[in-house]
Symmetry: none
Subunit: 238 residues, 4 copies
DNA sequence: TATGAATGAGGTTTCATTCAT
DNA sequence: TATGAATGAAACCTCATTCAT
C-alpha cells in the first residue's frame, strides 16, 4: 500500500491547484492482507530481488496487454519468467495490486514525458500542443501500457485508479487553458470540458491510427494537435 | 449466426460506399455450436419465451454494465430473473454470444437514433452536429449500453464486433465530412481521422460529464458539437 | 418392460437346451417408472404413432452408432426427427430403455438371419460355416447396429442385455458343435469355448476389414469361415 | 504430448517393417493446451508428486474399469485419493488425456510381456502360440486394463489410440506369420487378416472365461493357442 | 528466497427428465 | 399427442491464493 502510494507520488510533483482526489480512493483500491502489511513494514529487496521483481512486472505488463487482465493468470505470469508461483506472492500482495502498480507507474511515466516536452515552452497553446504530441508519442512507444489504460478505465475495480491519473493530466491541461483564456487567445469556455475533449481526441485517434493501423506517430500527433487547437477555438490560419 | 446477422442488418441501411467489413469478421465472432444451429434454423419462441428472453437480456445488460462482463456470472444473471441455470442456455448459446447480441443491438439502436435526428437536415455540418448531439443523448439515455461499448472495445474477444459498429458510425460521418470538404466549408483533411477524433471527443466528454458527474446532456451535447466543429476547421463566428 | 420382453421373445424360438438366462436379468435392466407402468398397461399406438416411434428409433440408432451413446443426447434425437422433447418420453420411458430396445431388436434380427441361412443345411459344419457367413453379411449391412453391440458390451449398464443375446447365438453354435463332435467330425473340445472363439474371430475381423477398411464382405466371410473351421479342428484339405 | 509420445515409445522397439502410423494420429489425440505445454516443457515432479500422480493413475484405472469412463467423474477420482479437485489438473491436463496415458502405458506393458515370453523361441509358430498365451496371462493379471481396452475401442475419442496399439501387436504377429508361410508351415493366406482373427479369439475367449467365469488362465491360454494354430492352418496332430 | 503441491470455491456448460399448455 | 419451457444436479475445468519444505 505504501509502495503504491510511493508509486504515484510523482504525479503530484509541482502540481498547483490539483484537485484533492485524496488517498481515500487509493486506500479503497488496496486490500490490507497480511502480506501487504509485511510489505509495508519496509522490506528491502536485494539487487537480485529487484531484478526478479522487474522481470515479473515486465512480463505481466506484456501479458495483461496482450490477453487482457482477466484472461491472464498468475500461472501465466510466473511461467513466462520461469519461476515458481510462490515468488509472485513474495513480491506482490496480489494480482490486482500488481496491476494497479503497473498502471500508476505508467501514468507517472507518461506525465513525466509530457512535462519534459513542455518544460521549455512559455505559450500556453504551445504547451497544450506539445503535451498532446507527447502523449501520442508516448502511446506509440508504449502500446502495452496504453492498452492497460484502456482496459483499466472500463473495470470497476480499477476505475478509481484511472481517474486519479487522468485527472492529473486533465488539471495540467486545465492550467494551460486557463492561461490561454486569461490571455484572450481562446474563447472562454469550461476548461475542464475542453481538457476532456482533448484527451478523447488524443486517445481514440492514437488507438486507431497508431495502434490498429500502425501509422507514423508524427502524422497522428500533427492531426490531433490541429484538431484540438481548432476545437478549443484557436482561429485557424486557414 | 443468422440471428446475429439480422441483428446488425440495420447498420448497413442506405449506406453507400461503406467499407467492406465482410461477414468473415462476424462469423469468427459467432461460434457454430449445435445450439446455435438449432437456434438459427428456425426456433420459434412462444410469447412467454420471448418475454423470458427479454428479461434475461435486460437483466444481463444491467449486470454487465454494473459489475463488468467477467465479474458477472451466468448464475448471477439467472438468479436475478429467478429461473434455473438451464434456462439461460435455452435462450442463448453462451454468455459470450449473449454479450455480442446485446452489443450489436445497441449499436443498431444508436445508429438509428442518429439517422432519425439527421433525416431532415441537408447541410453536412448540420448533420455532423446533429449526429454528435444524438450520440450524446443516446448515451445519456443508455448508460448501461454505453458502458458495454467501453468494455467491449478493450476486450480482445469483442474487439471485432466493436470495430464493425464503430466503422459504420465512422463512415456515416466520413460521408458528411467529404460533402463539407467538397463544398469548401472546411479544410481538406483526412476525413477518416477527423471522424475518429469526433468520436473520441463525444465518447470521453460524455463519459465524464454525463455519466460520472451526472450533468445535463444538453450542455454536453452543445459543448461537444462546438468542439468538433472547431476541430474539423469550421471558422468560429466569435 | 413388457414391450422389451416382447422385443426379445423371438430369441428363444425353437431353442432347445438354451441356458436359463431368466428374465431376472432383464428385469434388472428396466427401471419401473410411472411411464413404464403406463406403457406396460397395454397402450395401443395409432398408425401415425407407430411411424413416429419408428422414426425415432431409426434416427437414434444412427446417432448412437455415430457419436456414441453418451455423446448423443435426447435433444439430438428429437431434433433430427423434428419433434419436441416431450414426444420422446411419450414413446420411450427413457433414453436407456430405448437403447436396450434397439439392442435387442438387433440381436433378434441378426439371429433370424442366421437361422434363415442355415435352415436348408443338414451338416453341422455347414451350418456353422453358414452361420458365421451370415453374421458377417448381417454386420456388413448393419454397420450401425454392429457398433451398438460393440459399445453395449463395454458398458456396465448394458452388459447384461448383451450377454443375453450373445449367449443365444453361442448356444446355437454349441448345438452344431456338439453334433459335429458326436459325429466324429472334429476333436472333442469344450464346445462353448469354441463357440466364443468363433464369435471372436467373426467380430474382430469384420470390424477391421468390413467396417474400417471397407472390404467386400464375401472375402471376409470366406476367410472367417476358413479360420473357424480350422480352429475347431476340421482337418484341412491342405 | 511429449510425455505421451514417450509413453508409447516402447511399442516400436525393434520393430522392422512396422506400418507408418505416424505421430499425426497421436497429435490429434492430444490437445495442445497451455497446461500440456507446461507439462511437456520439463516439469519435474518431486518424489511426493510422483507418488500422488501414481495414486491418481491407479485409482482412476480402477474406477474407469469398474464404472466406465463416462460414468466416472474427476470428482470421483480425487475423492478416492482424498485430495482436492485442483490436484487432478496439476498432474493431468484433462480426464481424457489421463485415459489416453493409461491406455498407452497398458499397451506398452502388454507388448513387453509378449516380447519377453517370445524372446527365447525361434520357431515362428511357437512364437505365435507363446504370444497368444502371454496376452491371455497378461489380461488375466490386468482385468482393469483389459476392460479399458475394450471400452476405448468403442469410443470415437479413443479409437485412434487403440488402433495404434492394436496395429503394433498385429504387425508383430504378421511377421511371424510371414515367416511361417515362407517356411511352408502354413498355407499362404493374408497374414494381416489371420492376425486380426487371432486377436479376436484371444480377446473374446479371455473376456468370457477368464473375466466373466473366472476360469484358470492356463486352460484358456491352451485353448486359444490351439484354436488359433488350427485357424491359421497348422495341420492338427489329431 | 524459492518451489512444487494443494486448496476449493466458482466458472461455464450439458442433459435427462418433467410439466403446463 | 405434442410442444416449448423449465429444472437442477452434476460435469469438466480454472485460478487466486496458501503452505510445507
Amino acid at each position: 500500500m505504501v509502495a503504491s502510494r510511493r508509486a504515484i507520488a510523482g504525479l503530484g510533483d509541482g502540481l498547483i491547484g490539483a484537485p484533492a482526489f485524496g488517498w481515500q480512493l487509493l486506500d479503497r483500491l488496496v486490500k490490507k492482507s497480511a502480506t501487504v502489511r509485511a510489505m509495508s513494514t519496509g522490506r528491502r529487496l536485494t539487487p537480485r530481488g529487484e531484478e526478479r521483481r522487474a522481470q515479473l512486472i515486465a512480463h505481466a505488463t506484456r501479458l495483461f496487454a496482450t490477453k487482457g487482465y482477466h484472461s491472464c493468470s498468475v500461472a501465466d505470469i510466473v511461467e513466462g519468467v520461469g519461476v515458481g508461483k510462490g515468488v509472485f506472492y513474495w513480491y506482490f500482495p496480489s494480482k490486482e495490486e500488481l496491476f494497479v502498480e503497473i498502471l500508476m507507474a505508467a501514468q507517472t511515466d507518461m506525465r513525466r514525458r509530457q512535462q519534459r516536452e513542455i518544460a521549455d515552452l512559455d505559450d500556453p497553446l504551445d504547451r497544450i500542443a506539445a503535451g498532446v504530441r507527447a502523449s501520442v508519442y508516448w502511446s506509440a512507444e508504449h502500446r502495452d501500457l496504453f492498452h492497460l489504460f484502456e482496459f483499466a478505465a472500463t473495470d470497476e475495480t480499477f476505475a478509481d485508479a484511472v481517474r486519479i491519473g487522468r485527472n492529473t493530466i486533465i488539471s495540467d491541461v486545465v492550467r494551460h487553458l486557463n492561461a490561454a483564456i486569461a490571455g484572450g487567445r481562446i474563447p472562454d469556455r469550461d476548461p475542464e470540458k475542453l481538457a476532456h475533449a482533448i484527451l478523447g481526441v488524443s486517445t481514440l485517434v492514437t488507438l486507431e491510427y497508431v495502434h490498429h493501423q500502425g501509422g507514423p506517430p508524427e502524422d497522428v500527433a500533427d492531426m490531433v494537435a490541429d484538431f484540438c487547437l481548432g476545437g478549443i477555438g484557436v482561429s485557424q490560419p486557414s
